[in-house]
Amino acid sequence: MRPSRGLHAGLAGLGLLVLLCVFGPVVLPAPPAADPARAALLPPGAAVTEVILTDGRGLVSPDVTVGNEAIVVRGPFRDTELSPAEVVSVRKGRFLLGSDRMGRDVASQLMAGGRFSLAIAGLAAIIALLVGSSVGIAAATGGPVTDSALMRLVDVLMAFPLLFLLILVATLFRPGPVALALILGMTSWMGLARLVRGQVLALRGRTFILAAQAAGASKTFVARRHLLPNLAGPLSQDTALRLGDLVLAEAALSYLGIGVSPGMPTWGGMVAQGHRVMVEGWWLATFPGLAIAALVISLALIGDGIQERLTRGARS
């Protein structure tokens, strides 16, 4: 796979996933209602009939007989016979990616879970970006004492295996989604701090910066005009890869039972829950697992693509 093509494929993949998660529910046909008694654990593509009753309830079953006298909705435990007067409408529907134990549409769940996963990882990445670049700039510009103090802190934090640190913090604090993003962000900014510090130090000696400073440009001007553009490439590459790591870390925490509350389905949480019924419903763990993989792969392609552009740019 050629790098530029890789970058495009990655961007396309990421864009598609984000668009699906955010706009999917609006664009795609509405899924059948959740009917735990009759439509639980149906495989992907299962065709069902949805019967809407006068009181607003929807009965969903793959096995519905519509007659003139009666409409029979069959289920594994009980059959329900309805008179046409009770029924408002009957429509066909399909569970594209199957249904879960509560008869909910997995595709819709996947989109909702994606929004949570993306939001948590995104927020964490922003936190890491802010903390990491502040620390990096502070270390590079704040004098030798600040520098070595901050860099020792970075060394110490980097010594912890990420998951160990996350488990320690997550067990002690039992975080909600925002707190989890905060914890993820606060435990993954160290690489960025090093990167930013290195870039700033390298740039400081470069002639164009010295020239700008000699010309009396203010610090903020130099930072905005020269530092940011030079940092943008490495930072975006690092962030792309970091986002992937964050998605995987959140998934692992959910799997280990110390992620966010199960009331809030993230992709990792969905895989963990699906694992329990891997034999009864393979699709429950498979699709969120593939979604995570697709997201991480897209991000890796983007990261590689940016890297390639940077080195090519440096060579030319």
Binding site: A37, M102, S261, G263
Partner: protein, 541 residues
């Protein structure tokens, strides 16, 4: 022929050298115990301690019950009367005239696995441990009505009670007998920090031969066991795996033979296997929703009755428990002798529920689909433990059912420790919870109005003066048959008040390899008749 004979004598001698077999343990039938075979049992957590008075979970208790003997064994005849007891370490017992003193004769042939006899000294020591504040046994309160336990002679013990009640023997028997000669050397203050693995002695059917923490416990047949015949099994291995579904996988892969509890939603893959057997039985517990009854919208019994009526409990059994279980009625489980057989579960009837809410003043005045009163919507937060997926599913089903009758429900799943704290505070609107019901009928703990400031299991703060009065009356009665009409009244009152929505009387599914024969499993312990288990070792191990 001669050669063969010599060979078998050689075998006998090696066997005798390998393990000291006391003469008293020759089996009654005369045939030598079969050499055994191994059963591998899957458990989710390691034993917390090898001292039964320092453990706090059932799984540990089950394992330790194989090492430390009880005076008597509770039988499963609780359908007609309080359970009776079969002799065990105590071979017989007699009551005094006034029924306040109980004299027990211990088996004179009983020994610990170091060869020391089990005597009345052990029983007295056990009682001292059970009631010692330094040891702090969690269930120490069951000994509250025992005034003293004393040794009459080496093999005779007398217990004296503060008053007469139907569960005197049950309370005395609670907690296994431990070795005084070995453990009395350690002062009670030091018990919490002691390494009990070094101190293990067995007086039960098996003794500890190996323990790799968090991995494996190996028990082997205890040649000193006082009951005959000796267990047929040679070895009982416990494999520890933290996840229940991981254990199920191992059962299916043939790595373990016995799993005490398999979740009903995973039963499909077991049912299709002919080398596995399912044992389905009542596990003496009920799942319920505990409502906040003292203040707020749910303080009105009519509202709670409406909510119960609106919840399709059969659907919960079908969907969540895969059809296993039965609709619960009230605070006493239906198989128990004390159950009021005139009571029936409230019917599922959303129409009627709407009418009841209407009558209680809750109607949808603003047309938003949810009922309200004085401008306030009837909205309930239902809590369920984050660790228990089945109870979360119940909360979701209840949400859907109650929304049908215009009640807004917000399910919230919180981690167990937090949930306990919220329940303790009495501030939760509603909690999906489960109680295991002891065979000793005790309605006081859950249903007596709570004393302010005291810790209580009455999380919904239910208070009914009539129930309080009846409970006091029951406590005065010494005979269970006299108690029964009062217990019936109490149940009727509680069902009418619906402080809980009684959802499901649970079923447990134990799965074991069909190699195992003769296992009788009950809700009290998976190892009820472990002495009689046999394995067909053609299948290897």
């Amino acid at each position: 022929m001669k050669k063969l004979l010599g060979f078998s004598i050689f075998l006998t001698i090696t066997a005798a050298c390998g393990s000291p077999e006391p003469a008293s343990t020759t089996p009654a039938s005369g045939e030598p115990p079969e050499s055994g075979g191994t059963v591998v049992v899957g458990i989710v957590s390691d034993v917390q301690s090898w001292n039964p008075y320092l453990v706090e979970d059932l799984e540990s208790e089950h394992v330790l019950s194989l090492l430390y003997p009880s005076l008597a064994v509770e039988q499963t005849d609780y359908h007609r009367h309080p359970p009776s007891f079969a002799p065990s370490l105590a071979t017989s017992w007699t009551w005094s005239e006034d029924h306040l003193a109980l004299t027990l004769e211990l088996d004179p042939d009983a020994h610990w696995s170091d060869g020391a006899p089990i005597t009345s000294r052990d029983v007295v020591f056990t009682w001292q441990v059970q009631t010692s504040p330094e040891v702090g046994w969690l269930y120490g309160y069951v000994k509250d009505f025992i005034e003293k336990v004393e040794a009459v002679d080496d093999h005779t013990v007398r217990a004296t009670f503060t008053h007469v009640y139907p569960y005197q023997l049950m309370d005395l028997n609670d907690g296994p007998v431990i070795p005084a000669h070995a453990w009395s050397k350690i002062p009670f203050e030091a018990w919490g920090g002691a390494d009990w693995k070094e101190q293990v002695l067995s007086g039960g059917p098996f003794s500890l031969s190996d323990h790799t923490p968090q991995q494996e416990i190996t028990l082997t047949r205890n040649p000193w066991y006082f009951r005959s015949p000796l267990p047929r099994l040679g070895r009982l291995v416990f494999r520890i795996s933290p996840s229940a579904s991981g254990l199920l996988t191992q059962l299916l892969a043939g790595e373990i033979d016995f799993l005490q509890s398999v979740s009903p939603d995973q039963i499909g893959r077991v049912a299709s296997r002919d080398d596995l057997e399912m044992v389905i039985y009542d596990n003496r517990s009920y799942t319920h929703i505990c409502w906040k009854t003292d203040t707020g919208h749910l303080a009105d019994p009519a509202v709670r009755t409406a909510l119960t009526t609106a919840i399709d409990r059969q659907q919960i059994i079908d969907v969540v428990f895969n059809g296993f279980g039965r609709i619960a009625v009230g605070p006493v489980l239906s198989p128990f002798w004390a159950f009021n057989r005139n009571l029936l579960p409230l019917p599922y009837d959303p129409e009627a529920a709407r009418a009841m809410l209407d009558e209680a003043g809750w109607t949808d005045t603003d047309g938003d689909g949810f009922v309200d009163r004085d401008g306030e919507a009837l909205s309930i937060e239902i809590l369920a433990p984050a660790e228990n997926e089945l109870r979360q599913d119940i909360a979701l089903l209840v949400e859907a059912d109650l929304e049908q009758v215009g009640v807004k429900v917000e399910p919230r799943f919180v981690e167990w420790g937090t949930l306990m704290a919220i329940m303790d505070s009495g501030e939760a609107d509603a909690v999906v919870n489960m109680w295991e019901e002891p065979t000793q009928i005790d309605l006081e703990g859950l249903w007596h109005s709570p004393a302010p400031g005291e810790p209580t299991f009455n999380f919904g703060r239910y208070a009914n003066p009539e129930v309080d009065e009846l409970l006091a009356e029951v406590a005065e009665l010494t005979d269970f048959a006299d108690q029964k009409p009062l217990l019936d009244r109490i149940q009727a009152l509680i069902v009418a008040d619906q402080p809980y929505t009684f959802l499901v009387e649970n079923t447990r599914i134990t799965v074991h390899s069909s190699r195992i024969d003769g296992a009788e499993i009950n809700a009290a312990t998976p190892f009820f008749n472990i002495d009689e288990w046999t394995v067909d070792d053609a299948a290897g191990r």
